[in-house]
Amino acid sequence: MAKLIDYLKDRRILSLIIIVLLLLVLDIFYGAGPPYYLHFGIEFTNGTQIPITLEQPVNPDTMSRIISILQQRVSTYGLKQVTVEGIGNSNIYVIIPSTSGKEINATINIIQSQGVFEGIVNGVEALNGSDILSGSIGVVPPTTFNGNVSWAVDFFVTQSAAERFAKVVYGQANKPLYMFLDRPTSSIVLINATLLKNASLQLSFQQALSALQSAASFGSESIPVEVYEPNGSNWNSLYSFFAAHNSSYRNVILAKNTPKFMVENLTRLNYSIVYVSVQNMTPEFEPVSNPLNPTSTSYIVSSWPAIGLLSAPLLSPGVTNGLSNGSLIQSYQISGYAPPSLPLESKLSYAQQQSEMIASILSGGALPVHIIVGTPKVIPPTLGKHFLYISAIAAILAVAVVTLIIVIRYRRAFLVLPIMLTTFTELFIIVSVIGLIGTIDLAAVAGMIAVVGTGVDAQIIITDELITGKSEAMKFKLGNAFYIVWADAILLIIAMLPLLFSTSLVDIVGFAESAILGALLGVLVTRPAYGAIVSIHYGEKGEEKKEEKKEGVV
């Protein structure tokens, strides 16, 4: 009987052990954390899948634009861990890890909701979504001149809107047009003081605050901007402000990392809390020089997603002179330059992105095609647990059945251990890899069980050639066996490829992932290790037997 150390010395066995240990560490440190370290699909963890059908098939570019718009819509509303997945060229799944009717309906509303665009100049509404003629928003391709890249978006407004716009912007040349998408109402912003400091712009705290306040101003619907010190030193005065205003404002918009005690206090004051990411809470400032007085620089807020402020182009003198020549302007253009410091390639892509973003804001974040939201598929938590339990039982039973057959067939109890060991480690590796970089769903588990049943073929071929073969040397026989094992594995992988690359049958792609991973692991790692264990064990015995036989003959 070979000693344990002999097994450990073998390169094939050692690499299997190292891979298993490595994955164990990855699972624990990089996994999602308790209760599930690995990423499981909604069939196991519970959740809801909302199917969306597009009005017509779209090309991959449009599909990815639709997906990113939907992703943005759901993420700005603070819905966490929402997956938006394109299915072929005319369907989309939105998957949320929740089964509460309230959250499902909220998500559906968000998916269906068209955003509302508002353009505000100097605290007065100059434009809104319904002013813009639908279908009139056009992205002008970026143009390059002298190494500078400019971008532009054209749009038409209705006649009555043109009149109002002309009045509002009269005399406001070089002032920003604050472009909002879904500007919140009845809300107060609570912002961390450190976000108001911008070292590169040499912006003072006071300048930053007044820039924020003017961006947030809109007559009676202005959004108060309250600043807290991270150490909580000014909380008392803030608290009294909030306490005095809880009848006139309903919501407080704050970043996720706001101190807990502040959030608790605000909740007690009956405010609803609207969480935004720290990134969305961080305003971007831009210096604006005044052409009449070039030495003084003022600052504007060019973007502040927390309140839906997404862009702030400056009004050109051409549109702020009123009805100078008697005819009303109905067509407008928003344009700008890519930062001169960028290389040309990046300038072009910046310009493209910028103009697409402006076009998307003007259209209220509208999708390029109409969508039809279907009935959500809900997996309640109890059912998810049931599936998980059943799957575990099925996998264990499969391993047991396979082991039993092999042992009966070869009548050698020793084989139980290596077969179970290799099969279980194979399962562990597949579960870890798919759980870390993908999603373990019912299809993936079915694939794993299939791999248990089909991968064992390799073990049978190896065992047959090794322990029932005749006189050839171990090494040669192992090579023989592996030729067939390789051919089998490659054919299985090839058969699964069309499914692996399918973008439409995503419910079942996990099956192909497991099967391919299993087949690869089989030929590269686990079967060689199995072959090594068996040949170390029987190799020695075999040699002994052979010698005995020879002696007998002599």
Partner: protein
């Protein structure tokens, strides 16, 4: 294991009749394969309960309250699953809604044309090209508005049983859009509630899983499933030709894979195992895996030299039978678990592979192996 070596029989060709007969059986029954919700469209509901449920009474209640033929109620130890065919009114409404949106897209572009041509005409009031374009766009605008109105009224008509009569402003495009979408969503919710209410008197349950697959989606999935299977079959054929580099053994192996597929489909038709999205996993597994034994036999008969070809075929059969038996046992386990605990994904995958592999026993050892053996003998005689 002591089996007689069938490959020493004189008339090997007779053996081949069995897999061929199975092929005809498969072709015949494959026309009777039921589709599951994912490919036929419809609704599926799963709920967990420990109660005993009168499934027949529940099915007939569902049938009478929902006016659908043959709702299926399946019982498993943990709970029950219900499958209801697509409701024709909802399917009709989905079609109308898609048509509505197509007209709306046209309407939007025509309305932009009308405005922009109008602005251009302010500068050149007598430009005849522009005037002609304006007339054309106005005509298109009216036609698409009419199309929207028709599609919406058809949709609301179809949805009447669920949401009653809904009024809308036929001249306001945005209002019509909102009504078109919300009526469809609302009808879906009402239908779900109707189904749940029809189940309630028979079972106590707190939570359930509900899934709807619309006809658009299901027909899309079906076409994808076909494409994937055909692509896999072609790829595998190329790979087999590449491994053997001679036509007859390759064709014999591909015949084996195809025959297994046909037998599996026949068994699905015979035993009413539904074809669904999940089945694609099983079918591909079958294509990729069932030829393992064919490869083993062909390599051993053609490329090895110990003993006679008949002996090698016989040894290959011994190894191959162990392989296939183990795989059959694994998929039988999964199949049994999926029936007992009702997990449709497992049921569809395991069912396909299980029967395909049982067919493979006949295809490989009575069809493919004799074929290769005859080929080898003929080659040796030359």
């Amino acid at each position: 294991m002591n089996l007689t070596n069938i490959y020493t029989y004189k008339n090997l060709k007779i053996l081949m009749l069995i897999p061929i007969a199975l092929m005809f059986f498969g072709i015949y029954f494959s026309y009777h394969i039921p589709f599951d919700t994912s490919l036929a469209g419809g609704f599926s509901i799963s709920l967990l309960t420990n109660q005993s449920v009168n499934t027949a009474a529940l099915a007939s209640n569902l049938s009478s309250t929902l006016h659908v033929a043959n709702p299926e109620v399946l019982k498993s130890p943990g709970g029950i699953s219900i499958i209801i065919p697509m409701n024709s009114s909802l399917a009709e409404a989905e079609k109308d809604l898609i048509a509505f949106y197509a007209y709306k897209s046209n309407y939007t572009s025509y309305s932009f044309n009308v405005t922009s041509i109008g602005i251009a005409l302010q500068h050149e009031p007598n430009n005849s090209t522009l005037l002609a374009q304006l007339a054309f766009s106005k005509k298109g605008l009216n036609e698409s508005l009419l199309g929207m109105q028709n599609a919406l009224s058809n949709e609301l008509n179809a949805l009447k049983p669920f949401v009653g009569s809904i009024s809308y402003n036929a001249s306001n495009v945005e209002n019509m859009s909102r009504v078109a979408q919300s009526a469809y969503t609302q009808a879906g919710n009402v239908y779900e509630q109707k189904i749940i209410n029809a189940i309630k008197p028979f079972v106590k349950f707190s939570s359930y899983s509900y899934e709807e697959v619309t006809p658009t989606m299901s027909s899309f999935f079906l076409s994808q499933l076909r494409t994937i299977i055909i692509a896999a079959f072609i790829l595998i054929s190329i790979a087999v030709f590449f491994i053997f580099r001679s036509p007859i053994p390759s064709l014999a192996i591909i015949f084996g894979a195809g025959n297994d597929l046909i037998i599996a489909l026949g068994a699905m038709g015979l035993f009413k195992i539904p074809l669904g999205i999940a089945s694609v996993g099983g079918l591909l597994m079958l294509i990729g895996y069932s030829i393992d034994t064919e490869i083993l036999t062909s390599i051993r008969i053609l490329k090895r030299h110990e003993g006679t070809p008949e002996e090698r075929a016989y040894h290959a059969m011994k190894t191959g039978l162990t392989m296939t038996t183990t795989a059959i046992a694994t998929f039988a386990t999964l199949f049994a678990v999926s029936i007992i605990a009702y997990v449709p994904t497992y049921y569809e995958i395991a069912g396909v592979v299980l029967f395909g592999l049982i067919g493979d026993l006949f295809t490989t050892w009575l069809g493919n192996a004799p074929m290769i053996l005859l080929y080898k003998k003929r080659k040796e005689r030359r």
